[in-house]
Symmetry: none
Subunit: 223 residues, 2 copies
DNA sequence: CCTGTCATCGGGCGCTCACCCCATTTCCGG
DNA sequence: CCGGAAATGGGGTGAGCGCCCGATGACAGG
């Protein structure tokens, strides 16, 4: 199955060059062209291409806005941003709009062909120099939300440990000292230590660090 | 000029499979293999490969830490992360460590070959399902980008720790005592304790259990 | 009834941990 | 050239840890 391409650029010469380039690739097929963002949106609805090669800077509806609309109307269509501007702001705007790839016009033709094949598979292609923007920014992602909600109360699944032992283990793996656990459970420090000894003996574990990792594997605590 | 590859995976069968795969590609050449992070770092310095295919979860020095060290020692070497875990946390940690690509082991072989060619050119390849994490994150950079307020007691940044400190932390989180770490790193026990004190002070952490959980969140160890 | 498990407590011993104090060497950037 | 960071060491102290020794009561099952 050939990859169906839609070329979007306001410069006919650029489109012509890409036509030449892709005609040499038997697995790639150009099914349409557009010279502006508005035309591109219409063409996508009519042609349903696999990949849209989208110029970023165009008069009228620009590539960023066109990409946003295309991803709304046809999310399965991949958009590969092609640009003269190696600008950080444009780069992020295109990614936010839904582009799967970003490549400058100064890139080697082979890079463009490779990029098309990558995004056609649903993957992401970012050109080297642009990717640096990403590396710099990824530094502090927005602290993803892990969904716990396993009602970890008790209900023993592990018959090695007793319910009380698992309760103590959860406290240990939470970073509490024996004294703190004793206060929380309203028992003696020695009893807490006794439980810990029994846990370690049963599991053949000899320090708290390994207890933490065991508790995480067993889901006794969430990491 | 062939692309020179270094395979890093602790499972010989996985390496064998990749060897078969790449032998069919005339432009790709495997120049070495390593079965762990520490061995990978040494191999990179000796072989100077173009691309390192790096397993993420490995015993000992894991793929994230190994990538960090490799990018320090040989920034021109591209690292392609290969993983069984399609986990958001690992994904971002590998990108921050300097990986140029991220692809799961369940991906099609052709995708892996394509990814190698992409990163060998200095570009970035991200597999479809993983790339969603990025899209989701890039969408709201403004929301999570409040700098400052670090005195609130929260451990925020990640290059807080030096390379040596991360090395010691990995050992601590692996369950080793100060004595064992000292023997492994061939330094004094007091020096190990000194590093630990500095780590704890920087992170505002006061016991080993919390250090383990920090190391897991940051991908310094893989639980 | 008697044996086992579970949970509860006590003392002690050797070691490590966590947190202070201090110093030297190397190396890099202003 | 000088200052700071990094890595390397040493000493000391109080508390917690890991692991032995013991004990008592409750409770369930063969």
């Amino acid at each position: 199955m050939k990859v169906r391409l839609l070329l979007v650029d306001d410069h006919p010469i650029v489109r012509s060059g890409m036509r030449m380039l892709f005609q040499a690739e038997p697995d790639l097929e150009i099914v349409g062209e557009a010279d502006g963002g508005a035309e591109a949106i219409v063409a996508v609805q009519r042609l349903h291409p696999d990949v849209v090669i989208m110029d970023v800077a165009m008069p009228g509806v620009n590539g960023i806005e066109a990409t946003r609309r295309i991803k709304e109307l046809a999310p399965e269509t991949a958009v590969l941003a092609l640009t003269m501007h190696e600008d950080e702001q444009y780069f992020f705007e295109m990614l936010k709009a839904g582009a799967s790839g970003y490549i400058p016009k100064r890139a080697a033709p082979d890079d463009l062909v490779a990029a098309v094949r990558v995004v056609a598979q649903g993957n992401v292609f970012l050109y080297a120099t642009l990717a640096r923007f990403l590396m710099k920014d990824v530094g502090e992602p927005g602290a993803g939300e892990q969904s716990g909600a396993e009602a970890a109360g008790d209900a023993g699944a592990d018959d090695l440990l007793t319910a009380r032992e698992r309760e103590v283990l959860a406290c240990i793996a939470d970073g509490m000292t024996s004294r703190e656990i004793a206060e929380k459970l309203v028992i003696s420090v020695k009893t807490v230590e006794r439980h810990r000894e029994n846990i370690m003996a049963k599991l053949d574990i000899h320090n708290r660090v390994e207890l933490v990792k065991y508790a995480m594997r067993k889901g006794i605590i969430v990491g």
